[in-house]
Subunit: 388 residues, 4 copies
C-alpha cells in the first residue's frame, strides 16, 4: 500500500525521492529523461547514490543539541547552511522561468544560487528577480574571447561574487537515453510527441507561453537567425572551448577578482594544481553521472581529494545529494558545503519556486534532525570519526 | 506454492516472519506502517537484519546436549532465557490492552516486560494484570521534573526493579512512510481511511471499544481538555526532555535505587561513559532503524562496544532479533541478553497475549534447537569462536 | 524463450537444474518441499550453492588431455569417479522403491551408494537388487543398543564395507516450509491435498501401490501396531540417540571392522578429533542446509578443514554439488570425493533408476569436460592452484 | 517509457546493447541463443561484463584533447584504433555472407578482421570481397596435417599476415541453452521451429537463398556426401586436434613466417611459455564465457597476465567488450588492443556490413569521447593510474 503522494500540497511531499516522483509525473518523458538520466549504462549515476548510502553514521546520544549549529563560513562569507544550488542548463524546459524560481527560492533562504552559462534566463533577469540573492555564476569556457569576457562583465555588473568554472562538460557526455527521446537532433520521436500530449499541464505551463525555451543568457551572441531552440543548441556546442587548460585557467584567475571555484575535479593531483593556481574553491563532482560513465563515484573521489587539500582551499561537493545524511557524510569526509542540482530541479519541475523551496527546506530539516540524532551540536565539527 | 498460513491456529505459525505476515493482514495499513516501518530510506532497518544474517555459525556435532542450559543471570537475577520484551509505545493501536497482553505473556514465561513511558496502559494496570511480572519500566526523560519524579515513584510502587532510560528518541526520527499515512497530523489520508474499513476485525477489536487509544500512563499529567489521542501526542512531544545529558543521567543514577539501564548506545565511548557513571546495563540498539537512517546496524555496533565494556556492565541488545540464531549471534558477540520489540508486537497484533506468547515460545524453541545443533550445552559459553 | 524441457526423453535433460525442474513438476508440492527445502530462512541452503559459484577456476590450454584420469582411490579401493551417492531417508516418497533405483544406478556405474537408516527399502532388499553394489550404510546412532547392533550385523551380512555415521541430525532441523505443508503432523493441509490430486502420475506411481511408504529398514523394531507411516516416524524420532558422543563413537570404532566415516563435520577441531579416534574418513557437510540455518557453507568449512587433516583421513564433501565444476572445486580444496544427495534424488523423482543414472552421467561428463577444458589430465592433481 | 529503438535507421542505435536487442528481434531464438549464450550457468559470461563494469575510471579535466590519439602500433603495424574483429564461426546463420560483411566493415575502417577456421565464407572469398583488408586467419589446429597445411597455404596466399591459433575450444564447451534449442543434434525442437516461422525476414535473408549455411572454408576437405550442414558439423568436431600441445605449437611457430598469435590464454604461466616459444602475441580470453563456466573473468585474467609479459609480446584482449570504456580499461590494464566478437556480430545480425560498421563506429566514437572526458590525449598513455 505504500505510494507516494500525488496531489498538490507540497507539505505532503516528505522527501526528495517523493519530489522526484512528482516531477516525473508532471514532465513529459523526454524532459524527465534529460533531467534525471545519466551517461551510457548509468553506472556512475547509480554509484553516486549507492556509495553514499553505503557509508555508516555514528551517533552519540546524551549530547543534547536542540539547535545544532548549521551555519558555516563559506568562501569568506557566513551562510545559514552548507548548501547551495548548483548550476544547470535549460531549466526552462521544466518550468516557466525556472532559473528565476530557483534564484528566488535560494534568496529567500539566504543560500547561493548558481546560474548556468546555458541558462534560459539572463544574468540580468536573475538579479532583477532576486535583488538580495547570493548570486554565483557558472562559466563554461568559450572559444570566442569576447563572448566570454562579456559574460564575465555582465556577471560582475550583476554582483556575482563567485565564479564557478566548469571543466568537465565541454565535451558532452554520452547520454544515450536522452538521445533516444529524439528521432533526429531536437526532433522528438513519435512516442515522445504523443507523450507530450499526455502532459497538458506541462504544455500549458511551459510550451504554449513561448515555445521551447531558448538560451536567453547567450542570445545576444547568437546570430539572430539561429536564435531558436535548435539553432542555439548547435551554437553553444560549437562555442564551448574544448581546449580549456590550466594555462587558460591561470589567465582567468588573473582576470576574475571575485572568488573563483573550479567545478569538475575528480583527482587529487588536479585538486592540488587548483590550489597552486590560487583557486578559492573546487567542486568535487562527476557532473551527476552525466559525463564519463565508469568514473568513480563523487563521494569516493571526495574521500581521496579532501585530505590532500584540507585547509588550503574550499571544497564543495555534488553528485548524489538527496538527503540530509548525504550532506552530513560529505562534510564528515571533508567537504565545506554541497551543491544541490537534481534535488532542487525536481522541486522546480513540480511546483516552481515553492517546489525548489520545499526541497531546500527538506534538506535543511533533515540536516537539523540528523545532527540532533547524532548528538552533534555544530556541523563544523563533523569529521570522519562520525562515520563507520 | 509456498504461502504463509492465514488462519487462526497459532500453532501453525512457524516463525516470526510468518507472524509478521499475519499481523500485517490483520492491521490497517497505517498501523502496520507504524509498527514495521523505519526512518527515511530504511537503510538501517534493513541492515539490522541483513548484517545479522551475514554472520556465520559454527557447529560441533558429537557434543550431546539434550537440554542445553538457557538460563542466565541478568542484572543480578536468574532468568530462564536471555530474552526480555523491550519497550514500545502506543501498543493499544495493535490490540486492545496490548500492554497487558504483553505483560501477561512475559510473566507466564518468567521473562521481563518493559513498559514504555508512552504506553496506553498505566504502570498500575500492568502490575495488577500480572502480579508476578518481572516488571521493567522505560523512562523517556521529561522536561517537567515533577512529572518524571511521579513516574519514578509510581514505577517504584509497582515494584519495577529495572529502569530503562531511553536516550535515542527524544527527537523523533524521520519516519516518512508513517507520515505518508496521514493527510494532516493524526488525520488519515483518504486511502488509509478506506483501508481501515477493509479491516472490520481490527475496528471491532481496537477502534469501537474506546476510540483511538490514549496515552493512559501519562494521562494524569495531560490537561483534561487534551486527553484525546491527538492532544496527548502533542503533549508528549512537547514534554520530551531534548536536553537530557550525562549530567542529568548522573543525577538520575543517584535518584534510582534499582537497576538502571541506558538504552540507545551505539558508540564505544558512550558505553564507557555509561560504565563510568555506574549504569547497571546498556542496550546497544538503533531503535529498530526508526531514528537515524544510515546509522550502522546494531549488531555491528555491538561488535565494537561489547569488547570495550566486557564484564563491567550488563550488555543488552536489540534491533533485528527475529530468530533464535539472532540471539545466539548477539550473545556470541558479547551481549548478555536481547530485547524483543517488533517480534513480540507482531504476535500481539495477531492474537493478543497468545500471539506474543507464541513468538516468545518460537524464539525459545529456536534457541534450544540452535544450541543443540551447535553442540553448545550452555548458552553462557557462547563467544566469538562460535561465529565465522 | 528459454524454457526447460518438459517431456520424457532423459537425454534432453542437460543439467541437474533441469532435472530439478522436472522433478518439481512430477512431485506434489509437499514432497518437493521435503526434498528441496532447507531450514528456516534457507540462508545456508542458498550459500552452499552461491559460495561454490563464487570460486573461480584456472585453465591451462595447450595441455592435451583427451581422456583425463578421473579414477581415484577412495577408502582403500579404486573407484571410477570421485562421486558417491549419499544417504537420504524416505526416498520412497519420490518414486516406488527409490532406494533400489538409486542402488542400481550406482552399481551400474561402479559407484558407491549409501543407504540411510531411515530408508524405505531394507538393507537386504538393496543387496538383492544390486548384488555388485559398492554398498555403504549410513547409521543414525540409536538409543536402543540392540537395535543398533542388529542394524550393524545386517549391514555386515549384506557386505557393506563402509559405515557412515551421521552426527548432525539426531535433532531435526527447523524445516519450516516442510512443516507448512501440514495442518497437523503427517496430515497434509487442504491446499496440499488438492495439490496431490493434481499429480495423478505420482499418485499412481507412489501412493496407490502401497500407501505412504513405511520405514522398511526399521520395520522389524517398530511395534506392529505402529508400523504405519505416522507411527514409524514417531518411533524413529524417539529412537534417535541424541546423546551420541565422542566416547560412543570410540566404542563404535572398536565394534566396526570395516571403514568408518563420520558425517556431519564442520569444524577443524572436530575433524582432528575424528582423526585421533581413527576414523577412516569424514564428510564435511551441513546436511544440505537442512539443519542449522546460518551455519557456514560446506565449501567454506572444507576450506578450513581439509588443510588441517590433509593426508591423515579421507575427506568427503557434500552440500551443494550440482555441477562437475562443483566437484572440481571441492577436490581442489582438498576433498577426496563428493557425495550427491539432492542431485541424484531429483533424477530418481523424475524417472527412477534411469533418472538417477542420467544425473550421475551428467556429473561424470561435466567432470570430464571440465578437466579437459582446464587442461588437467589427472583429477588427483587438482589443488588450490587451480582456483582463483 | 525507456525502450530501445525498433526501426531500421542504424543511426538511431546508440549502443552495443541496443544493437543486441535489435539482433535479438531479428533472429530466430536458436540463432540468438547460439550467438549470445554461454556455457552452463553462464557465470563466466556474466562476470566478463560485471567485472569490467566494476572497474572505476579516473578523469583529469583541464587537459584539452580535442583529437586524442587513438592510433596504435600493433604487431608491427600502425593501425587507426586498438580494435580488431575477432574470429567467430557459423556467422552465415546470422546474415547472408556475414563473413564478407564483417570483412568489408573492417576493411573500410582499416581494422583487422579475423576469419574463423569454421567460417561459412572461404579465405579466398573474403580476400576477394575486401582486397585491402588487414586480414587475419584463425586456425583451429587440425588432426589431419595436410588439411591444416593446406589451410595455412591458402591463408598465406590470401595475404594473411597474422595467424591466430585458438587453443581453448578444441573441446566444445557445455552450452546447454544452445543445445536446448534442439530436439536432436541439428534438429530444432518444435517450439524453435515455430519460432523460425515467426521470423520471415530471417528466413528470406538467410534460409531461402541457400538453406542452412555450410562450412565453406572447410568444404574442400569434407567428403562430398557430408557437405551439408549436419555432416560438416560432425566432420569438424572430429577433425579438431584435441592433442594440440606446446610442442606442436613450437612446430607451428617454425612453419608460420608471419605474425603468430595464441588465443586462449588465462594463466600467467602459459603466457610466459608463449613468450618463450616466440609468440608475437597472445589473446587473453575465456572465449566469451562459452567454454569453461566458472573460469575467472577475462579482465581479471588480464590483470594477472599483462604485468607478467609486459613488453615481451603483444597482448590482445577479448570477452566482454561492449563499450568504449571497456577498451580503455583493458588497455589501462596492459592490453595492446581488443578484439570484438559478439559486439560486431550483433551488428551483422541486424544489418549486415552496415550493422557491423555501426558497431565499430560506436566503439570508436565512445573511445574518442572517453579519452576526451578523461583528459587523456594519447591512448598509448593509458595505464593503471587511470583506474581506481
Ligand atoms: C539537467 C542538468 C543540467 C545541468 N547543467 C549544468 C550546467 O549547465 N553547468 C554545470 O556546470 N553543471 C550542470 N549540471 C551538473 C550539476 O551542476 C551537478 O554537477 C550534478 O547535477 C550533480 O549531481 P546530482 O544532480 O545528481 O546531485 C547539470 C545537471 C543536470 C541534472
Ligand atoms: C512500534 C514501536 C514502538 C516503539 N516505542 C518505543 C518506546 O516507546 N520506547 C523505547 O525505548 N523504544 C521504543 N521502540 C524501540 C524498541 O524498544 C526497540 O529498540 C526496537 O524496536 C528494536 O528493533 P526491532 O523491533 O526491529 O527488533 C519502539 C519500537 C517500535 C517498533
Ligand atoms: C531429502 C533428504 C533426505 C536426507 N536424509 C538423510 C539421511 O537419512 N541421512 C543422512 O545422513 N543424511 C541425509 N540427508 C543429507 C544428505 O546426505 C546430504 O548431506 C545433503 O543432502 C547434501 O546437500 P545437497 O543435497 O544439497 O547436495 C538428506 C538430504 C535430503 C535432501
Ligand atoms: C558465435 C560465436 C562464435 C565464435 N566462434 C569462434 C571461432 O570460430 N574461433 C575462435 O577462436 N573463437 C570463436 N569465438 C570466440 C570469440 O572469438 C571471442 O573470444 C569471444 O566471443 C569474446 O567474447 P565476447 O564476444 O563476449 O566479447 C566465438 C564467439 C561467438 C560468440
Amino acid at each position: 500500500m505504500r505510494r507516494y503522494y500525488r496531489g498538490h500540497d507540497l507539505q505532503r511531499i516528505h522527501s526528495v525521492a517523493e519530489m522526484a516522483a512528482a516531477a516525473r509525473a508532471r514532465l513529459p518523458h523526454f524532459a524527465w529523461e534529460y533531467l534525471a538520466g545519466g551517461a551510457e549504462d548509468e553506472l556512475t549515476l547509480s554509484r553516486n547514490v549507492s556509495d553514499l548510502q553505503a557509508i555508516g553514521l555514528q551517533a552519540h546520544t546524551l549530547r543534547p543539541c536542540a539547535e545544532p549549529k548549521r551555519e558555516v563560513t563559506l568562501l569568506g562569507k557566513a551562510r545559514p547552511l552548507p548548501i547551495g544550488i548548483g548550476p544547470s542548463g535549460y531549466n526552462g524546459m521544466l518550468w516557466p522561468d525556472a532559473d528565476l524560481a530557483l534564484a528566488r527560492a535560494a534568496a529567500r533562504r539566504r543560500l547561493p544560487f548558481t546560474l548556468s552559462t546555458v541558462s534560459n534566463a539572463t544574468i540580468e533577469a536573475v538579479r532583477q528577480a532576486a535583488p538580495e540573492l547570493d548570486f554565483w555564476f557558472q562559466l563554461y569556457p568559450m572559444k570566442a574571447a569576447e563572448m566570454q569576457e562579456d559574460l564575465l562583465l555582465r556577471a560582475e555588473r550583476a554582483g556575482c561574487e563567485v565564479l564557478v568554472v566548469t571543466t568537465d562538460a565541454s565535451i558532452l557526455g554520452n547520454r544515450e537515453w536522452d538521445r533516444r527521446s529524439f528521432a533526429r537532433p531536437r526532433q522528438l520521436s513519435l512516442r515522445n510527441k504523443l507523450d507530450v500530449l499526455l502532459h497538458p499541464g506541462w504544455m500549458k505551463r511551459v510550451l504554449y507561453p513561448g515555445g521551447m525555451p531558448v538560451l536567453g543568457n547567450l542570445a545576444p551572441y547568437i546570430p539572430p537567425a539561429e536564435r531558436n531552440a535548435l539553432g542555439s543548441m548547435k551554437f553553444v556546442s560549437e562555442q564551448m572551448d574544448t581546449q580549456f587548460s590550466w594555462d587558460k585557467l591561470a589567465r582567468l584567475r588573473q582576470r576574475w577578482q571575485g572568488k573563483l571555484v573550479l567545478k569538475g575535479i575528480l583527482h587529487e593531483e588536479d585538486a592540488l594544481q587548483a590550489v597552486a593556481l590560487g583557486m578559492d574553491g573546487i567542486v568535487v563532482t562527476n557532473h551527476g553521472g552525466r559525463q564519463l560513465d565508469g568514473s568513480l563515484s563523487a563521494i569516493r573521489a571526495l574521500q581521496r581529494i579532501a585530505p590532500a587539500v584540507a585547509g588550503r582551499t574550499t571544497v564543495l561537493f555534488d553528485s548524489g545529494i538527496r538527503r540530509g545524511t548525504d550532506i552530513v557524510k560529505a562534510l564528515a569526509l571533508g567537504a565545506d558545503a554541497v551543491l544541490s542540482a537534481r534535488a532542487t530541479l525536481y522541486g522546480v519541475a513540480t511546483a516552481g519556486e515553492a517546489g525548489a523551496g520545499r526541497v531546500l527546506d527538506l534538506l535543511a530539516e533533515e540536516l537539523k534532525r540528523n545532527l540532533q540524532l547524532m548528538g552533534c551540536d555544530d556541523i563544523n565539527a563533523l569529521d570522519s570519526r562520525w562515520l563507520c
